[in-house]
Protein backbone atom coordinates (compact mmCIF):
# COMPACT_ATOMS: atom_id res chain seq x y z
CA UNK A 1 0.00 0.00 0.00
CA UNK A 2 1.40 3.34 -0.93
CA UNK A 3 1.68 6.14 1.50
CA UNK A 4 -0.61 9.00 0.61
CA UNK A 5 -0.18 11.16 3.66
CA UNK A 6 1.20 14.54 2.74
CA UNK A 7 4.06 16.09 4.63
CA UNK A 8 2.55 19.55 4.67
CA UNK A 9 -0.80 21.00 3.69
CA UNK A 10 -1.96 24.57 3.40
CA UNK A 11 -4.54 23.94 6.12
CA UNK A 12 -1.67 23.28 8.51
CA UNK A 13 -1.01 27.00 8.47
CA UNK A 14 -4.46 27.46 10.00
CA UNK A 15 -3.56 25.11 12.85
CA UNK A 16 -0.20 26.81 13.39
CA UNK A 17 -1.69 30.30 13.15
CA UNK A 18 -4.59 29.38 15.43
CA UNK A 19 -2.31 27.97 18.10
CA UNK A 20 0.02 30.99 17.86
CA UNK A 21 -2.89 33.42 18.24
CA UNK A 22 -4.26 31.41 21.16
CA UNK A 23 -0.86 31.45 22.85
CA UNK A 24 -0.42 35.19 22.31
CA UNK A 25 -3.92 35.99 23.59
CA UNK A 26 -3.34 33.85 26.68
CA UNK A 27 0.02 35.49 27.24
CA UNK A 28 -1.43 39.00 26.91
CA UNK A 29 -4.44 38.29 29.11
CA UNK A 30 -2.36 36.69 31.83
CA UNK A 31 0.41 39.30 31.79
CA UNK A 32 -1.82 42.37 31.56
CA UNK A 33 -4.36 41.21 34.10
CA UNK A 34 -1.79 40.31 36.72
CA UNK A 35 -0.78 43.07 39.08
CA UNK A 36 2.68 43.02 40.60
CA UNK A 37 2.66 41.17 43.88
CA UNK A 38 4.38 42.31 47.03
CA UNK A 39 4.43 38.97 48.80
CA UNK A 40 5.77 35.56 47.85
CA UNK A 41 4.89 32.25 49.42
CA UNK A 42 7.18 29.24 49.37
CA UNK A 43 5.46 25.87 49.35
CA UNK A 44 7.07 22.56 50.16
CA UNK A 45 4.92 19.50 49.42
CA UNK A 46 1.84 21.74 49.10
CA UNK A 47 2.40 23.27 52.53
CA UNK A 48 3.28 26.94 52.81
CA UNK A 49 6.56 26.97 54.72
CA UNK A 50 7.42 30.64 54.34
CA UNK A 51 5.86 33.93 53.39
CA UNK A 52 8.27 36.65 52.36
CA UNK A 53 8.04 40.35 51.72
CA UNK A 54 9.44 41.22 48.30
CA UNK A 55 10.39 44.77 49.25
CA UNK A 56 13.51 43.71 51.15
CA UNK A 57 16.41 42.38 49.11
CA UNK A 58 17.88 39.19 50.53
CA UNK A 59 19.42 35.82 49.81
CA UNK A 60 18.24 32.94 51.96
CA UNK A 61 17.59 29.22 52.35
CA UNK A 62 14.82 27.37 54.09
CA UNK A 63 15.63 24.81 56.75
CA UNK A 64 13.67 22.02 55.05
CA UNK A 65 15.72 22.28 51.84
CA UNK A 66 19.14 23.78 52.57
CA UNK A 67 20.45 22.85 49.12
CA UNK A 68 18.14 25.42 47.49
CA UNK A 69 18.86 29.15 47.66
CA UNK A 70 16.36 31.93 46.99
CA UNK A 71 17.01 35.55 46.15
CA UNK A 72 14.79 38.59 46.50
CA UNK A 73 15.81 41.69 44.56
CA UNK A 74 13.91 44.78 43.38
CA UNK A 75 10.52 43.31 44.29
CA UNK A 76 11.21 40.09 42.43
CA UNK A 77 12.11 36.60 43.61
CA UNK A 78 13.96 33.70 42.02
CA UNK A 79 15.64 30.39 42.69
CA UNK A 80 19.27 31.48 42.89
CA UNK A 81 20.63 27.94 42.97
CA UNK A 82 19.50 24.39 43.47
CA UNK A 83 21.14 20.97 43.35
CA UNK A 84 18.37 19.45 41.21
CA UNK A 85 19.34 17.86 37.88
CA UNK A 86 17.05 19.76 35.51
CA UNK A 87 17.61 23.31 36.88
CA UNK A 88 14.19 24.33 35.57
CA UNK A 89 13.59 26.31 38.78
CA UNK A 90 16.78 28.35 38.39
CA UNK A 91 16.24 28.95 34.70
CA UNK A 92 12.72 30.25 35.33
CA UNK A 93 14.42 33.39 36.59
CA UNK A 94 12.84 36.25 38.49
CA UNK A 95 9.07 36.33 38.97
CA UNK A 96 7.05 39.26 40.25
CA UNK A 97 3.49 39.12 38.87
CA UNK A 98 0.65 37.90 41.06
CA UNK A 99 -0.10 34.27 40.28
CA UNK A 100 3.28 33.65 38.72
CA UNK A 101 5.08 30.55 39.93
CA UNK A 102 8.55 29.12 39.88
CA UNK A 103 8.72 25.40 40.51
CA UNK A 104 11.36 22.92 41.50
CA UNK A 105 9.64 19.60 40.89
CA UNK A 106 12.45 17.38 42.22
CA UNK A 107 12.27 19.18 45.56
CA UNK A 108 8.50 19.72 45.32
CA UNK A 109 9.15 23.40 45.98
CA UNK A 110 6.91 26.13 44.61
CA UNK A 111 7.41 29.86 44.89
CA UNK A 112 4.18 31.69 44.25
CA UNK A 113 3.54 35.43 44.06
CA UNK A 114 0.49 36.49 46.03
CA UNK A 115 -1.60 39.44 44.94
CA UNK A 116 -2.58 42.08 47.48
CA UNK A 117 -5.98 42.83 46.00
CA UNK A 118 -8.79 40.35 46.63
CA UNK A 119 -9.48 39.99 42.89
CA UNK A 120 -7.16 37.10 42.16
CA UNK A 121 -6.36 35.69 38.74
CA UNK A 122 -8.52 32.67 39.36
CA UNK A 123 -11.59 34.84 38.90
CA UNK A 124 -10.66 35.98 35.41
CA UNK A 125 -9.92 32.68 33.72
Amino acid sequence: MNNHRKFFKKTDLLLIGGLCVLALILLLVVTLSSPKGTTAQIYLHDVCVMTCDLSEDSIFQIDQAPEVTFQIQDGKIRFLSSDCPDQVCVRTGFISLAGQTAVCLPHRLVVRIISDSPSDLDVII
Binding site: K9, D12, L24, L26, V103
Partner: protein, 175 residues
Protein backbone atom coordinates in the same frame (compact mmCIF):
# COMPACT_ATOMS: atom_id res chain seq x y z
CA UNK B 1 12.01 -15.77 11.55
CA UNK B 2 8.41 -16.13 12.64
CA UNK B 3 6.25 -13.08 12.43
CA UNK B 4 5.70 -12.62 16.17
CA UNK B 5 9.40 -12.88 16.98
CA UNK B 6 10.10 -10.33 14.28
CA UNK B 7 7.49 -8.06 15.80
CA UNK B 8 8.96 -8.27 19.30
CA UNK B 9 12.48 -7.68 18.02
CA UNK B 10 11.39 -4.69 15.97
CA UNK B 11 9.53 -3.14 18.92
CA UNK B 12 12.58 -3.72 21.11
CA UNK B 13 14.79 -1.89 18.66
CA UNK B 14 12.31 0.99 18.44
CA UNK B 15 12.13 1.28 22.23
CA UNK B 16 15.92 1.26 22.45
CA UNK B 17 15.98 3.97 19.81
CA UNK B 18 13.43 6.07 21.74
CA UNK B 19 15.38 5.99 24.99
CA UNK B 20 18.68 6.58 23.22
CA UNK B 21 17.21 9.65 21.54
CA UNK B 22 15.91 10.96 24.90
CA UNK B 23 19.32 10.44 26.40
CA UNK B 24 21.14 12.08 23.48
CA UNK B 25 18.75 15.01 23.73
CA UNK B 26 19.52 15.46 27.42
CA UNK B 27 23.18 15.95 26.47
CA UNK B 28 22.35 19.12 24.57
CA UNK B 29 22.94 21.93 27.05
CA UNK B 30 19.84 24.08 27.69
CA UNK B 31 19.91 27.19 25.52
CA UNK B 32 19.85 30.31 27.69
CA UNK B 33 17.22 32.10 25.58
CA UNK B 34 14.79 29.20 25.70
CA UNK B 35 12.32 29.10 28.59
CA UNK B 36 12.72 26.17 31.01
CA UNK B 37 10.95 22.94 30.17
CA UNK B 38 11.19 23.45 26.42
CA UNK B 39 12.66 20.37 24.80
CA UNK B 40 13.03 19.06 21.29
CA UNK B 41 11.20 15.79 21.96
CA UNK B 42 13.24 13.65 19.57
CA UNK B 43 11.82 10.39 20.88
CA UNK B 44 8.37 11.51 19.76
CA UNK B 45 9.56 10.65 16.26
CA UNK B 46 9.69 7.00 17.34
CA UNK B 47 6.28 7.11 19.00
CA UNK B 48 4.75 8.66 15.89
CA UNK B 49 6.38 6.12 13.59
CA UNK B 50 5.11 3.36 15.84
CA UNK B 51 1.57 4.71 15.77
CA UNK B 52 1.45 5.31 12.03
CA UNK B 53 3.25 2.22 10.79
CA UNK B 54 2.86 -0.48 13.42
CA UNK B 55 -0.22 0.05 15.55
CA UNK B 56 -1.78 2.08 18.33
CA UNK B 57 -1.31 -0.57 21.00
CA UNK B 58 2.39 -0.66 20.28
CA UNK B 59 2.58 3.15 20.35
CA UNK B 60 0.97 3.20 23.80
CA UNK B 61 3.38 0.48 24.88
CA UNK B 62 6.38 2.56 23.77
CA UNK B 63 5.01 5.64 25.58
CA UNK B 64 4.46 3.63 28.78
CA UNK B 65 7.89 1.99 28.58
CA UNK B 66 9.48 5.40 28.10
CA UNK B 67 7.69 6.56 31.25
CA UNK B 68 8.86 3.45 33.11
CA UNK B 69 12.41 4.04 31.95
CA UNK B 70 12.29 7.64 33.18
CA UNK B 71 10.84 6.36 36.47
CA UNK B 72 13.74 3.93 36.95
CA UNK B 73 16.54 6.24 35.84
CA UNK B 74 15.38 9.72 36.83
CA UNK B 75 12.86 9.15 39.61
CA UNK B 76 9.13 9.16 40.18
CA UNK B 77 8.55 12.78 39.14
CA UNK B 78 10.21 12.34 35.75
CA UNK B 79 8.37 9.04 35.29
CA UNK B 80 4.95 10.55 35.88
CA UNK B 81 5.70 13.54 33.66
CA UNK B 82 7.00 11.40 30.82
CA UNK B 83 4.09 8.94 30.98
CA UNK B 84 1.46 11.66 31.11
CA UNK B 85 2.95 13.52 28.17
CA UNK B 86 3.46 10.36 26.13
CA UNK B 87 0.01 8.90 26.70
CA UNK B 88 -1.88 12.14 26.04
CA UNK B 89 0.20 12.68 22.93
CA UNK B 90 -0.51 9.19 21.53
CA UNK B 91 -4.19 9.56 22.42
CA UNK B 92 -4.44 12.86 20.53
CA UNK B 93 -2.56 11.48 17.52
CA UNK B 94 -4.75 8.39 17.43
CA UNK B 95 -7.89 10.55 17.48
CA UNK B 96 -6.56 12.75 14.67
CA UNK B 97 -5.63 9.78 12.50
CA UNK B 98 -8.97 8.07 13.14
CA UNK B 99 -11.01 11.19 12.38
CA UNK B 100 -9.06 12.74 9.51
CA UNK B 101 -7.50 9.54 8.09
CA UNK B 102 -4.99 10.42 5.34
CA UNK B 103 -6.14 14.01 5.07
CA UNK B 104 -4.08 15.23 7.99
CA UNK B 105 -0.43 15.96 7.20
CA UNK B 106 2.65 14.81 9.09
CA UNK B 107 3.36 18.38 10.13
CA UNK B 108 -0.09 18.85 11.67
CA UNK B 109 0.10 15.47 13.42
CA UNK B 110 3.52 16.18 14.78
CA UNK B 111 2.50 19.60 16.10
CA UNK B 112 -0.61 18.10 17.71
CA UNK B 113 1.51 15.40 19.32
CA UNK B 114 4.11 17.82 20.66
CA UNK B 115 1.52 20.26 22.00
CA UNK B 116 -0.42 17.50 23.74
CA UNK B 117 2.81 16.10 25.17
CA UNK B 118 3.48 19.49 26.74
CA UNK B 119 -0.11 19.78 27.90
CA UNK B 120 -0.02 16.38 29.62
CA UNK B 121 3.20 17.24 31.42
CA UNK B 122 1.89 20.62 32.50
CA UNK B 123 -1.31 19.11 33.90
CA UNK B 124 0.58 16.45 35.85
CA UNK B 125 3.11 19.02 37.12
CA UNK B 126 0.23 21.26 38.24
CA UNK B 127 -1.34 18.30 39.97
CA UNK B 128 1.93 17.25 41.66
CA UNK B 129 2.51 20.65 43.24
CA UNK B 130 -1.19 21.48 43.59
CA UNK B 131 -0.75 24.86 41.85
CA UNK B 132 -2.28 26.01 38.56
CA UNK B 133 0.99 26.29 36.67
CA UNK B 134 -0.76 26.52 33.32
CA UNK B 135 -1.63 30.22 33.79
CA UNK B 136 1.77 31.53 32.81
CA UNK B 137 3.19 28.41 31.22
CA UNK B 138 0.55 27.41 28.70
CA UNK B 139 1.40 30.09 26.10
CA UNK B 140 5.09 29.21 26.27
CA UNK B 141 4.45 25.50 25.91
CA UNK B 142 1.95 26.02 23.07
CA UNK B 143 4.51 27.96 21.08
CA UNK B 144 7.26 25.48 21.83
CA UNK B 145 4.90 22.66 20.79
CA UNK B 146 4.39 24.27 17.41
CA UNK B 147 8.06 24.86 16.82
CA UNK B 148 9.43 21.57 18.13
CA UNK B 149 6.52 19.66 16.57
CA UNK B 150 7.37 21.08 13.16
CA UNK B 151 10.98 19.98 13.61
CA UNK B 152 10.11 16.43 14.70
CA UNK B 153 7.57 16.17 11.85
CA UNK B 154 10.30 17.10 9.39
CA UNK B 155 12.59 14.50 10.97
CA UNK B 156 9.93 11.80 10.72
CA UNK B 157 9.36 12.58 7.06
CA UNK B 158 13.10 12.42 6.45
CA UNK B 159 13.65 9.05 8.11
CA UNK B 160 10.46 7.31 6.93
CA UNK B 161 11.87 6.15 3.56
CA UNK B 162 14.89 4.65 5.31
CA UNK B 163 12.71 2.87 7.85
CA UNK B 164 10.62 1.51 4.99
CA UNK B 165 13.79 0.10 3.46
CA UNK B 166 14.72 -1.67 6.68
CA UNK B 167 11.22 -3.00 7.34
CA UNK B 168 9.38 -3.07 4.02
CA UNK B 169 6.32 -4.77 5.51
CA UNK B 170 5.83 -1.94 8.00
CA UNK B 171 4.12 0.51 5.71
CA UNK B 172 1.67 3.02 7.02
CA UNK B 173 -1.50 1.29 8.11
CA UNK B 174 -4.69 2.92 9.27
CA UNK B 175 -4.66 2.41 13.01
Amino acid sequence: MSKSVRHVVYLGILFALAITLSWAESLIPPLPFLPPGVKLGLSNVVTMYCLFCIGWKEAFLIALLKGAFAFVTRGATAGFLSSAGGILSVLALLLCVRIFKQRVSYTALSITGATCHNLGQLLVASFLVDTPLYLFYLPVLLLSGIFMGAITGLLLRTVLPFLHNIAPDQREVSP
